[in-house]
Amino acid sequence: MTQNTDTGDDSGDALPDGGVAEDGQRSGFSPISALNERFGSDFVESSQFWLPPFLLVGLFVYGAIIWNLLISLTDFTGFGTPDYGDLDLEMYGRALADSGFIDAAINTFILLVGFTLVTLALGLGLAILIDRNIRFENTFRTIYLLPMSLSFVVTAQFWAWMFNFNNGVINIVITSLGFGRVDWIGNPDIVLWAVMFALMWQFAGYAMVVFLAGLRAIPNEHYEAAKVDGASTVRMYWRVIIPQLKGSTISASVVLMVFALKAFDFLYSLVGGYRPPNGADILATKMVREAYANLNWAYASAVAITLFLMTLGIVGPYLYYQYNRGNL
């Protein structure tokens, strides 16, 4: 509706601000037209929109990663500035020889895989329950997704209390069932699973939302067809519906894995300090501790690069997959 008047105005060339610059661009200094020729007709003009944000992201994200890589090659520790004159892979060698690093890498991997799998499973279950045409669907959905709106710092407080040895809900429940108390946070063999459980609580709602969108994109006929074939409900989901959720599963997995890599906030808040409970150290917490508590900047950077490569290993194939499907 409005575009008619808009376009009408425009022919009159009533551009109060910026008009001059654009006219300058259009009338074509040779470098600009050369750029436009090479990249496309709007390249220069549209750059006023995308270039500043792109530079900001380029500087803070990619510039910083390259800088981080450089720092990881120095011996930077303590106070002062890094010496970029002497670059080597010493810090990576140190990481491989550091049993704390190896433990953290293993824990990161366990958390990554375990958390992603259980969260996907629970999220899928929730999505199917919600999708069975229930009453109060919105209420259920809102409550299942609610933990996702909370800060890790907040949920860490809740779960520190839930897992409390003497008075926590979980130990109260299991002792009332006749089992002994479990030291969820204190026992190094258990704590990682306890953390995984808490994170699952927080993110299952997210997986549910993604799966629900996937389920609702499946045409009704597929359900009908399965029904006509006389398949049971379980069989129908297993054979017909779930295989069609591949796309949802992939995108949910990628996001969940990235969340797991970032679980720093949760672990920091659980204990209120840089050192997570014994047995729950992950690369994200080790990196921050090495840098800000121990001032081992170069070493922390090397740990950070490792973490970055792990992320790249997950996200890279995903981006390639999306690119091939024309989603980029």
């Binding site: 601000d17 910026g18 006023q48 929109f49 500043p52 944000p53 530079l55 900001l56 500087l59 303590g78 106070f79 002062g80 500035t81 049993s99 704390g100 433990d103 409390n164 040895f165 003497n166 108390r181 030291d183 969820w184 946070i185 204190g186 026992n187 190094p188 204990v271 209120g272 300090g273 840089y274 050192r275 409970p277 014994n278 150290d281 800000y292 508590a293 121990n294 001032l295």
Partner: protein, 445 residues
């Protein structure tokens, strides 16, 4: 001196390049916003005020005494300072959280950013290594105040680094302490004073276990430091002064370390509270106050909590015993204030340093903190009976070995490694072999 100058000029140089970057950035985003281009010029204006602004002469002191007796002691210290130096504009900032962890991180970052406070609380000794290059000297204060003559010799030695004084001590805690709940040990029929060896302690713990419902030894291991600290006292008590000193000096006797860990494994594996790994010092100490436990090993800051507890008196309700086997020794700890170079308020800071070492400051602070003065000429009549005894023990001690966990024994990097070993190998299940290997490797030169 040249050191300081080059730091200063680097900071200005960096500031200038940074200014160019920010102006550039603001220009970019301003452009896309249309009307907001004015931001860029603001950035330019700001760089004029680059000389530290109003912070010029205010004395800014950072410390970590945020709770309980620590906060009260810090208040008393500030009040005494205001009385002595009413003209100095000051700002005492307590940095809370995680013991000293947050304070250390804040100090480190401010030193790193070339924005040091006037002074900050920390430990002297090898701990000073981590501040290599960013600490100034206060030899002038030591000389004009005559500190070398009135401070205990260990304080004189440990406050020097690279041949210069870097700070001034405020007080001293004792580390090799065993506290007990009198009624619990009586119920068990144990006489704490008869415990003069680690094996006698283990026997006593067994007695408590079989005779009472109480926890024989309460332990708060949610942080690793309590266990590292227990290792130090146990080693001192069981293997003796020489073995302990060669351990911290970097030539450990593996057999001594192993024997210490074996005793520790026996204690921690059998006689501590089952929720030890999820509670901290505060709750662990609460077990003594509430009569749920017989013994606790801690530095004597634990006694501060007893004094604050109602109806819980020294000798009647709680008692003190030198950690078994370490009789005649005082495992040393210092709370000190250090002096950063590139100091924002050099004159005021030097006056503050002189104050910290004065009798007025040491009496005001230590009587509430539960520590003792580092000066030898302080009238102890204002202190309670427990601290008076501690002071006597200190003065009469045969040896005063430095502590392991609080900065005086090993540099902070080594301390971190030791705690990593405790975390991965010795927080249940207790792996004596791996812990021994880790500790020996960590301290060996």
């Amino acid at each position: 001196m040249t050191d300081q100058d080059s730091r200063l000029s680097r900071r200005h140089f960096v500031g200038a390049t940074g200014a160019a970057t920010l102006t550039g950035l603001a220009g970019c985003s301003g452009g896309s916003d249309g009307g907001d281009g004015g931001d860029g010029s603001d950035g330019g204006d700001g760089s004029d005020g680059g000389d530290g602004g109003d912070g010029g002469n205010t004395l800014e002191v950072l410390h970590a005494w945020t709770g309980g007796d620590g906060a009260r002691a810090a208040e008393a210290l500030v009040a005494a300072f205001e009385e002595e130096y009413p003209d100095i504009e000051h700002e005492f900032n307590p940095i809370g959280g995680g013991g000293n962890q947050n304070l250390d991180a804040v100090v480190a970052n401010r030193l790193q950013n070339g924005d040091p406070p006037s002074s900050f609380a920390n430990w002297p000794g090898p701990n000073l290594q981590r501040y290599e290059g960013v600490l100034g000297e206060v030899g002038g204060v030591w000389e004009s105040e005559g500190f070398e003559d009135v401070m205990v010799q260990e304080a004189v030695d440990l406050h020097q680094y690279n041949g210069a004084y870097r700070g001034v001590p405020l007080g001293s805690h004792r580390l090799n302490c065993l506290f007990y709940n009198t009624s619990v040990v009586e119920e068990a029929g144990v006489d704490p004073d008869s415990l003069t060896s680690v094996s006698a302690l283990i026997d006593a713990l067994e007695t408590v276990q079989s005779e009472t419902d109480a926890i024989p030894m309460t332990h708060g291991a949610s942080g690793t430091w309590t266990t590292t600290q227990l290792f130090a006292s146990t080693m001192l008590g069981q293997e003796g002064y020489d073995a302990y000193m060669s351990f911290i000096d970097g030539s450990p006797d593996e057999a001594a370390v192993r024997a210490t860990f074996e005793s520790l494994a026996e204690i921690l594996g059998n006689y501590i509270n089952e929720d030890a790994s999820s509670i901290g010092l505060t709750e662990s100490n609460q077990n003594i106050i509430e009569g749920n436990a017989a013994f606790i090993h801690q530095g004597n800051w634990a006694a501060g909590a007893y004094r604050n507890a109602e109806d819980f008196d020294y000798d009647e309700d709680w008692g003190f015993k030198t950690y078994p086997g370490s009789e005649g020794m005082y495992m040393l700890h210092f709370d000190s204030f250090l002096y950063p170079s590139d100091n924002p308020s050099p004159d005021a800071t030097e006056q503050f340093m002189a104050f910290v070492g004065s009798e007025a400051a040491q009496v005001a602070f230590n009587q509430y903190k539960g520590s003792i003065p580092t000066r030898t000429d302080v009238d102890m009549s204002q202190f309670g009976p427990y601290l008076q005894e501690t002071q006597e023990d200190f003065a009469n001690a045969d040896q005063r070995p430095p502590n392991l966990q609080h900065g005086l024994g090993v540099p902070s990097g080594t301390m971190t490694t030791l705690n990593d070993v405790i975390s991965s190998e010795f927080s249940g299940p207790y792996n004596v072999d791996a812990a021994t290997e880790g500790f020996v490797d960590a301290v060996s030169n």
